[in-house]
């Protein structure tokens, strides 16, 4: 694995350490990543309960498969790949019966956020997040990784197996839909 400045110092132990060293490295990983992963997954899932379950599965998966990280991509890309797969799987199970289109999903998401005691944002933020939740899961993933997590398109392409061109198109399509709801009174 190529070691560079972006490589966390605990990564080697997380991958190759013996039991105690690996557990200590995992605790350091949790210090650095727990809240960030929860926020990403929460944006993907739209509510705390589902986000909590998916975050837990993601963290356990990362511990168990850390030794399979080969360093061909950035560690953050690898972490978001696992989190995205877990979130998309959970969304697919949840939406198996019926997937709403954007205009149907947006008012429901807005009302859910208005009633959510754990959401502390103002009206603009509520509209922004309701619009994100109303996006189809793949588009939501791309928008969240790019806009909220600041991942470059090249990294998103790597973790989604899509071309940068199609990702940019998907992202701009999402921005267009979201802007419409954030700027116009709900």
């Amino acid at each position: 694995m190529a070691v560079n400045q972006a490589t966390p110092i605990w990564l080697h132990d997380l991958q190759h350490g013996r039991r105690k060293a690996k557990e200590r490295a995992f605790e350091a990983f949790l210090d650095a990543w727990h809240a960030r992963l929860y926020s990403y997954i929460r944006r993907m899932m739209g509510n705390h309960e589902d986000a909590a379950d998916v975050t837990q599965e993601t963290l356990i998966q990362i511990y168990r498969s850390a030794e399979r990280f080969e360093g061909r991509s950035a560690f953050s890309t690898w972490v978001f790949t696992i989190a995205s797969r877990k979130a998309l799987d959970a969304l697919e199970k949840r939406n198996r019966q019926r997937t709403l289109d954007f205009d149907e999903a947006y008012p429901l998401a807005h009302a859910a956020l208005a009633a959510d005691a754990l959401f502390t944002g103002d009206e603009i933020e509520r509209r922004l997040h309701a619009a994100v939740i109303a996006l189809p899961p793949r588009q939501r993933q791309v928008f969240t990784l790019r806009y909220f997590e600041n991942l470059p398109f090249a990294a998103i392409a790597e973790l989604t197996n899509l071309t940068e061109g199609s990702l940019k198109a998907s992202y701009h399509h999402a921005v267009k839909k979201i802007t419409q709801h954030v700027t116009v009174p709900a």
Partner: protein, 95 residues
């Protein structure tokens, strides 16, 4: 990372951290528990599998079908005292 306008419930991160750490440690504990259970079963199996020779006629009466009772063996091997004391103490109603 941009501003996060939502927060998990109080204590969520600490609770989940404890649960996750317990989960990643549990396979080892589970293996130990399984190994201990298997060992206990093997020991119990060996113990139960052993033929416990009857030392009294009362024991033979209980554990052997009537037609297979080694009456001659009992008469030869057991003393009068063993034979009758045991019968008297364990199945007095048959006397």
């Amino acid at each position: 990372m941009k501003h996060v306008p939502f927060h998990p419930p109080e204590g969520f991160y600490a609770r989940q951290r404890a649960e996750v750490l317990a989960a990643v440690r549990s396979p080892r504990r589970a293996w130990l528990a399984v190994a201990a259970s298997v060992a206990a079963l093997v020991v119990a199996g060996i113990w139960w599998g052993q033929e416990m020779p009857c030392a009294t006629y009362a024991c033979l009466l209980e554990s052997t079908p009537a037609e297979e009772l080694p009456v001659d063996w009992a008469l030869d091997e057991l003393s009068e005292e063993d034979l009758w004391l045991d019968l008297a103490s364990e199945i007095p109603h048959e006397l």
